[in-house]
Amino acid sequence: MAVAAINKYFTLIVNTPNNLITHLEKSPTPLINYFITFACILTLRNFLEGFSHNSLINLFFTNAPGAFLTSEFIHFSLFYALVALLISMTLHYFTQEKIQNIIKVVVPGFILILCVPLIDLAVSKGMGHHIAYIFPQTKHNLLYYYFTFFGSAQSISCGMRLEIFMALLCACFYLQTKQKNIFKTLLGLAIIYSSIFFVITTPYVIKYFVEIFHIDIPTTSHVFVNYFLLLLFPFGMGVSFLANKQVFIVLAKDLRWLRLLHFELMLVLGIALTVKQFNIFLLTNFIFLSISILFFWLSAVMLNNIYDQAIDRISNPKRPLVTKEIELKHYKNIAITILFCSLAYALAVNVKSLLIISGAIFAYYIYSTPPLRLKRIPVFSKAIISSASLAFILLGYINVHGNWQGFPNSFIWIFLIGFTLTANFIDIKDYLGDKAQRIMTVPVLLKPPLAKLFIGSAFIFTSLAFHFYLQNIFLLPLLLVAGIFGFYFINQKNYQEWRVFSVYLLTITGLIVYLLTNKLCN
């Protein structure tokens, strides 16, 4: 009788983790709920931590500057987001389980983080505990903290140790349930512990980074935010790839890399116009802005695809929505997420960048979508693209120079007139689709042969117009050669867009190299 009862309870204890995991994985709850849940848990953790960490509640509920508080809040949120990604990826690697299913287990598991401030308050009899990273100023080295489960580190509270221990225990149950190999489980646990340790010792990493570049950076929230955003990009991409390889590859193929390169080069051109020396802040700002532009462009492409389905069935039958490789609703959700990422990375640099990127997003929105859908109107359609390009030049310029004073006026005219006329070459390949949908592009209005002559001539004149800024007679023949090549490729019988793009991008790259060597060498 007693043996049967013990057996019953033993089976229950052994089966509980398995049943719980199966219940969570098979839940029909939409994935978006897990992301919102994660944000909710983080909000509550920040709130509860305020009771334990007195200076934090003072920050939240007294008149500390809003920007500083926002930075603190974002800093903590990114910290946990990175931990969640690292745990999810490790679990996926060892179990080969679908990443969506892992997220469905890991995110609810983050409810554990709410216990930390409560445990700290209970243990300290209401005094609370100041939770922080392990800083390099501490008396022991990293290995000591690693092998002694944070040893005597004052900043790692009792609640935090218990939280990490519980997380490891849950991970152990998960790994053991999914694959019955004890060695793999132990290795998985070691990697998860190392990942958490790596994030908690972030100041050490920043210190090493600072020593390499010989710079003095105060370890403020802003630095932590930048550091986590930098790491979140590759890990976020990795998780997105694992979540749906097919969709990831389809989106990457549809990115139209040459056009993306154009926008990225606009940013570099803006920097090249004013940069006098490179530093670490310029480098991180450049990386974030490049990522922001990448996401901006991807969202613009997706938005365009959503409203161009009828045209694409004729001109571009390989586009994802035409081939039905991605469901429209899913596609829209991805586009919104990517748009949000673009804004987040722009905001990480500063508010000016956020405004410029938002401006470009709005411009592309009215370019692609009804009721305005400016892509139907010949001049306005390309004026939008040239305005966005000009905005990215300004973005690079402002982030180095601080303001837009001294920005060369010639560039404004070159882009608003020359580029607006030249950019019409992108419509040549869509001639049949645009004609069928009665979209009045230059090739539809003038018919392809005349349109090609017109656009080709604009290419030559725009190329030569850069002389107004460069004021270097020796470069004029080079600009003329680039223009002639552009004219030739546009008017080729077997028209290939990538050839024109290549000439254009090479010209801009040459211009950037010239400007950089000129500015940095002087």
Partner: protein, 172 residues
């Protein structure tokens, strides 16, 4: 969004609850001012505007909370409602927006899956204890930008016990 007598009643009760807690915070802060003869330089008009914005924001948050019940996730109209509530709160300050986000967070965890805490008794008390603490502190510090006098934990524990007892009594 749904609109019927039940929802309207539910909305007004919730809104009233938040308002009472908020004004309780304000009143205690005011009492503290008189007790310790502290001086504050807030202009009356500016202060009235802040209270108006918070009241509107609380109304929108209450509407969001009432309508989230029975939903699978946050719908578009509810997210717009939430966005406007945050916008109004942010106009007062980050602290106000933070308080609103706590209400939104507890409501989501309480009403929606994967947690759907409504299923279990006791979480009702925790949810409203957290909401009330956030709103009370907002009221307290809106007037009294001076910290370290009150121990927040006592209020939290006291309120939690009170609501929990009430819940148990109601269940029986």
């Amino acid at each position: 969004m749904q609109l019927n007598k039940q929802i309207l009643l539910s909305f007004f009760i919730r809104w009233l609850f938040y308002e009472v807690i908020f004004f309780a915070g304000l009143a205690i802060a005011n009492w503290g001012f008189n007790l310790f003869s502290l001086d504050h330089t807030l202009s009356r008009d500016y202060f009235s505007l802040q209270i108006l914005l918070i009241t509107l924001s609380l109304a929108l948050i209450s509407w969001f909370a009432v309508n989230l019940r029975g939903q699978i996730s946050i719908t578009l109209d509810l997210s717009i409602c939430l966005f406007i509530a945050f916008l109004l709160a942010q106009a007062v300050g980050f602290q106000t927006a933070f308080s609103m986000s706590i209400i939104a967070a507890t409501t989501f965890l309480y009403e929606c899956h994967p947690f759907y805490l409504r299923r279990w008794a006791g979480f009702f008390a925790i949810k409203y204890a957290l909401d009330a603490t956030a709103i009370f502190l907002l009221g307290l510090f809106l007037l009294w930008k001076h910290s370290g006098i009150f121990s927040f934990m006592y209020f939290f524990v006291f309120y939690f016990i009170l609501v929990f007892i009430r819940r148990i009594i109601l269940h029986r």
